[in-house]
Symmetry: none
Subunit: 222 residues, 4 copies
DNA sequence: AATGAATGAGCTTTCATTCAT
DNA sequence: GATGAATGAAAGCTCATTCAT
């Protein structure tokens, strides 16, 4: 009959480990910790401190350290996916679509936590192959599929002349954006290149690509 | 016929931690363990078991786990360095040099332990920046410098028309070989592509590159 | 009759590493182990076993082996300090004060863990100078300061005639009690001397001291 | 028939582990190492380096680390013993003998390695009781026996009036020299007191002692 | 006799996970 | 549901001792 005398946030509102706010809070703390220290060097105590929840609570929401890390990776992936898909959908011409794609790619590489996340994943790839594959399946490696579809459509419309769309997509990504990808991945960029510099690189790559695959050049094939 | 005097310096005897055979044996074991488990998950006991030497012996040859890992990385790097340099030195024409460069690059990506090594390095990049930099300074990221010089020389000879050699080098690498680099890095290659397939990709990239930078096209520059 | 609310701060609950009962339990175990084996030969596993707590728990309460040892030493010191100060404060005449001081000193030497603690400290003196100094600052070596003040006061009151109070204090301690100090320190006492024997030694020393520094002898000074 | 081609110092001259020069060389190295680091912190490798002999050789001359340490202690003890015995033998009058005894004691305490040696021994006393006892049996603690005999002889000659010679000997040592002993033992002396200061302390103690036990005072007993 | 590379038990310390409250 | 003290296996590393040369 006596009322409970301890804080009972959301009692009865969610099943065990299902409160999405708390879950997000844990993931936010975990993100900060993992990004800073890497998978192995980050301890669950660090997560506890950074997330502001107790050890036990974490284990209510996530089965293990690896499970927590997997959930974190899953969330990063979703955000990236959604953003890239929207960009391609909004673009009208092939030239505009390709350019915006390249710029969006560069943005994610340079301004988000994508690269640190990928570094950590690569470090544990052999131990957690499934987890990694799930991430990479829609990461910079494979949003190539989206681009590939886009290029195929442009080919249908006569904007491009491409036979091997997979190769062309890879070439475009590599030429216009992968330079920054590798530079960032290997920590080879002391300061973020300014937008003008990025535009210049994208432009040169795009011209080379259009020079080869554009409608005017008829003597070749992909 | 006189019995051998001992101690006999130089016959099977080395200064502490200087026996190259044993050193190699330890590195081989460490390589297997690190490649399989990553840096943190690999324990010195694992190395002990895999290398077939005792714990103490490892610490005679290497100061610490990090030191052992550093030596391992150094060894991988040396082999790669030597091979790439020789290839460029042996080539006559720009076309031949570029093609051989791309093929050699592909070989290292696909057939050696370069990529697994890099994965692990990326996983510990924040904790061991110096070690990583030393490796990456001559890794696929940066043998670009060699290629850049090569392209500049070709430009002087009139074989290529290139203004921004750094950009051109990056573009060539990205186009001809980086596709495999990323595929391997992200463990995205179920089976090694056959030599024919590799030749086809290199050929397409090289044609796109020559189409843009080759001597005949005079209306532009990179 | 209402069921107890939890978490109930302050009822059987303490902040991390702050439960004084458990802390004492660990210190008790550590004391037994250190006294028996010395600092280096005592392992944390030994402490674990003797204290009846797990390894991890010890490291919640103490940062390191050295920290644990330091806390142990601090505890011994406190008990000694408090007792000696009270004894001098309670005494009325010089003769009574000096006699009680000597007897209290003997008690600590013979009946407490003071001496074993000091032995261990001396063994690590070069490695832990600060820790040692903190202990010795109020150990038998230096409660001499208290005695010195006491003697100076007696001199003012005309009970003693002392010029060099520091020397006199040292002489008194050495004569009345230091014999047992050294005997105990070097493990030279097979059985504890009985109280009568102690009284006899203190008496002889006190008489020699008073014979020299007492008010009747006017022809000299220390 | 061929002559041995490796250095054969003393081959055939000594039984295994019996070359006193090499033995001394090892002990010298061990002394430096143990004095600097203490028993446990000193490693056999340190001894190896400091003594300039190989690990194996040490184990030819000494069974174990503890055995080596024991031999070292034994040697220190002998030197001290010999010196004190000679001093007492050379002295004529009680006053001179006692004074020289006190000064010799102070010298050993202040200028030799006696104190560091004792510190280390105290640190391992509970683990190596036999070893320690052997040392302390003739150390400052117990050269008291020599003094006791000397005092008894002086009593016979009428130079002193002493009933309890053991107590008197202890009192004399404590008064005249133990002050420095403790100061040194507890590392409480920043600079060595000069000879004048030592003479002053010895003088005061000796006067108090003679005041009490000297032939003129007839009203008491020890 | 002398060497010193090799051994492996044992050290201090960390940390993912559990469970009584 | 939430807590965080407690656990104990396992980590990196050291070092007394052995033994093939």
């Amino acid at each position: 009959m006596t009322p409970p005398c301890y804080p009972v946030a959301g009692v009865g509102r969610f099943a065990a480990g299902a409160d999405p706010v708390k879950r997000g809070q844990i993931l936010d703390g975990a993100k900060r910790v993992f990004m800073k220290l890497g998978y192995d060097a980050a301890s669950m105590n660090d997560v506890t401190r950074e997330a502001g929840v107790s050890k036990g609570t974490i284990y209510v929401y996530f089965q293990s350290k690896e499970d927590l890390f997997g959930a974190l990776v899953e969330r990063e992936k979703s955000e990236f996916d959604a953003a890239i898909q929207q960009i391609l959908a909004e673009s009208k011409t092939a030239d505009e679509g390709l350019r915006r794609y390249a710029l969006a790619y560069a943005h994610f590489i340079l301004d988000t936590e994508m690269i640190p996340t990928m570094r950590i994943l690569l470090g544990v790839l052999d131990r957690m192959p499934t987890l990694c594959q799930r991430f990479f399946a829609s990461s910079p490696t494979n949003i190539k599929a989206l681009l590939q579809d886009y290029i195929a459509a442009a080919h249908e419309k006569g904007e491009l002349e491409v036979e091997d769309t997979e190769l062309a997509a890879r070439q475009f990504i590599d030429m216009c954006a992968a330079g920054y990808f590798k530079k960032r991945l290997f920590n080879d960029i002391p300061v973020r290149p300014d937008d003008e510099e990025i535009a210049r690189v994208v432009d040169s790559g795009l011209r080379m690509f259009m020079n080869f695959y554009g409608p005017k050049n008829a003597e070749h094939s992909g």
